[in-house]
């Protein structure tokens, strides 16, 4: 069966750390970083990229449009 594998890239300087993407992700790929960006926000980062299916839910719901999604069929 074809499997989808995704990868997400964050523009961490634009991220405001709202955490909406964390709740939107069905496979729990995203978590908030303990480090902060130059504005002092705990930005979002991918902690479990292997589970990413590239569903784009996180990118669709991101208010600041910081997430870019890539996807391949393997």
């Amino acid at each position: 069966m074809a499997k989808l594998k995704g990868s997400i890239v964050f523009d961490i300087e634009k991220c405001k750390g709202c955490g909406v993407c964390v709740t939107a992700c069905p496979t729990e790929v995203i978590a908030m970083a303990s480090e902060v960006n130059s504005k002092g926000y705990n930005y979002a980062e991918a902690v479990n990229m292997d589970a990413c299916t590239g569903c784009t839910n996180c990118a669709v719901v991101c208010p600041d449009g910081v997430i870019t999604v890539y996807r391949v069929k393997i």
Binding site: V60, P63, D64
Partner: protein, 259 residues
């Protein structure tokens, strides 16, 4: 062998499925973290990009949190006096009928000071799109009570909750405009979950298509959150919105044209 494909192999231009719309500028938005304005801007920009109407679209910005919207969308935009966006949109659409004209207004702008302009524009059936962001509060000025504030909801001017005997009932302006014969498409959506964002995007797309065929006023209400005004985290505010806003402002279409 396929299972151990590396992240580097996935991140290639040909595998791109979602990125920030090119209609959005690179400016960092001033909205609070988790604000629905940002999401609505993104989908609006995506629709404009997908339809290829960046050069033909004119937006009217309101007074409120989204007053600086012209810094974020790379299209022609005009700032209106408080609440007067539908009047300005009427003028622009009548002078330039081939352009796509939309207004983007909050509840303090559209449902309070601009009620007359909103209702009369909808009643005249002006061929414009009105996007109405309803978060039940005056966000920009510090979270005062708006006409759309729910009964019992706390705000900085109603610290004990809105008392309907003293302050009147919350205004469902979308229900009102749906009864007017000039409106063609009236719907209420939200942008707090991926599914809802996709639905709202479809609604905006449909509204622009109707405008192309001169059908009449399209009115899209987006029930949104205000984490700062409601004094919650963004995720909590989305949950609160689901539990408290949606029972009073149910999502769905109010007026759908018969195709």
């Amino acid at each position: 062998m396929a299972d151990n494909i590396s992240v580097k192999d996935i991140i290639k231009p040909e595998n791109l499925v979602h990125k920030r719309s090119s209609v959005m500028t690179d400016n960092i938005m001033h909205y609070c973290p988790g604000c629905g304005h940002g999401t609505t801007h993104q989908i609006l920009a995506e629709v404009i990009e997908e339809m290829g109407i960046q050069q033909e679209t004119i937006g009217i910005t309101p007074v409120g949190c989204s007053v600086l919207m012209y810094n974020y969308l790379d299209i022609d935009m005009q700032e209106a006096a408080h609440g007067r966006a539908p009047a300005l949109a009427t003028a622009i659409k009548r002078l330039l009928p081939e352009k796509y004209v939309f207004t983007y207004q909050g509840d303090g702008d559209l449902a309070a000071i601009g009620t007359a302009e909103t209702i009369h524009s909808c009643n005249r059936g002006e061929n414009i799109l009105i996007i109405f962001i309803n978060n039940g509060i005056y966000g920009m000025t510090g979270g005062q009570m708006a006409p759309t504030t729910l009964e019992g909801m706390k705000s900085s001017t109603t610290p004990y909750g809105r008392d309907v005997k003293l302050m009147g009932n919350p205004l469902k302006i979308t229900d009102i405009v749906a009864t007017l014969p000039g409106t063609y498409y009236v719907t209420r959506q939200s942008v707090h979950k991926p599914g809802n964002v996709r639905k709202t995007k479809k609604a905006i797309r449909k509204a622009f298509e109707y405008q192309k065929h001169n059908k009449g006023t399209c009115f899209i209400e987006v029930v949104s959150n205000c984490p700062s005004g409601w004094k919650m985290t963004p995720v909590e505010s989305n949950k609160w919105m689901e539990e408290n806003m949606f029972p009073f402002y149910p999502l769905g279409d109010f007026k759908v044209p018969e195709e």
